[in-house]
Amino acid sequence: MKLTGPLERVLTVMIADPSAPHYGYDLMKAAKLPSGTLYPMLARLQQDGLVEAEWEAQREDTAGRPPRKYYRLSAEGLRVARLELAQAASSAPPRRAGRGAAWPAPGSTR
């Protein structure tokens, strides 16, 4: 897994409370990412088994709102995310100072 800027932000949001489920728009707002970046990333993470998705149970108090799909880190995802974020934090200063664009800047979509 290559830790890109957007991925780092999504993992940071999800790792803040690993048990809390997030729906797409919630993650978009928290990680400040457009839908065109977030959903392909979630699909990849889900395919790699790092993120689990589940449908919201239909409840009475949703006022007719359709059920949402919620995402959360799997046990493996939590382990990988912690490791990757820790590595990114330790190598952050040289990466920012370096001339190479090894990772796209946060905010760049692709």
Partner: protein, 197 residues
């Protein structure tokens, strides 16, 4: 506050439209997931004034269109990998020929067709038929073949290498060659496409 129903309807329709390009097995679920996000966007009171929420919903749809493109691309790549594995394990009788082989085969077929048509015209001239007859015959053959290719493009679950519209243009612009190239390169035969349909 209830979200603007008209915006939600339009955005829902947009999402449904872009979901059509997704593989059939995930289409309905993805469509349901993304449509379910719309109320949250249109109800988001942190975005003011309200027309900005509409813009946000529309930009969400643009991103969904990009996502659908990405997902269908990776599904196609996965199905290609599956086909290759199937060939190795013997599930497919023959290995799908390489692109260059198919292109050369297409060109050869085209040469044979052109030679056959020219021969037919020369033969008809000796029979004392009206001079317009060979022209009408060739036109009818070309139109018939084009119709066949266009119908095939329209009905195929998947076409290869180029998007459908590009194959349509190629078939129309270069009447026999375009169609032959589509059939030899872009067309996926029923026998081989069992796994990806």
């Amino acid at each position: 506050m209830s979200p603007e129903p008209r915006t939600q309807r339009i955005a829902g329709w947009l999402i449904q439209t872009v979901c059509r390009r997704l593989p059939a097995d995930v289409r309905a679920e993805r469509c349901r997931e993304w449509t379910a996000e719309l109320p949250a966007i249109l109800d988001d009171q942190s975005i003011r004034p309200s027309f900005l929420r509409t813009l946000r919903a529309l930009s969400f749809c643009v991103g969904i269109s990009w996502t659908a493109r990405q997902l269908s691309r990776s599904a196609r790549a996965a199905s290609r990998r599956t086909r290759n594995t199937q060939w190795r394990t013997g599930a497919l009788r023959t290995r799908p020929p390489a692109l260059a082989v198919r292109a050369v085969r297409g060109l050869l077929i085209w040469l044979v067709v052109v030679a056959a048509v020219l021969g037919l015209i020369a033969l008809l001239r000796t029979r004392g038929l009206p001079p317009s007859f060979p022209v009408v015959l060739v036109l009818a053959l070309a139109v018939g073949f084009d119709c066949f290719c266009l119908a095939d493009i329209a009905r195929a679950a998947q076409v290869r290498y180029l998007p459908r519209w590009a194959w349509v243009i190629i078939c129309l612009v270069q009447a026999p060659l375009g169609g032959i190239m589509y059939l030899s390169i872009g067309h996926i035969s029923r026998a081989r496409s069992g796994t990806i349909r």
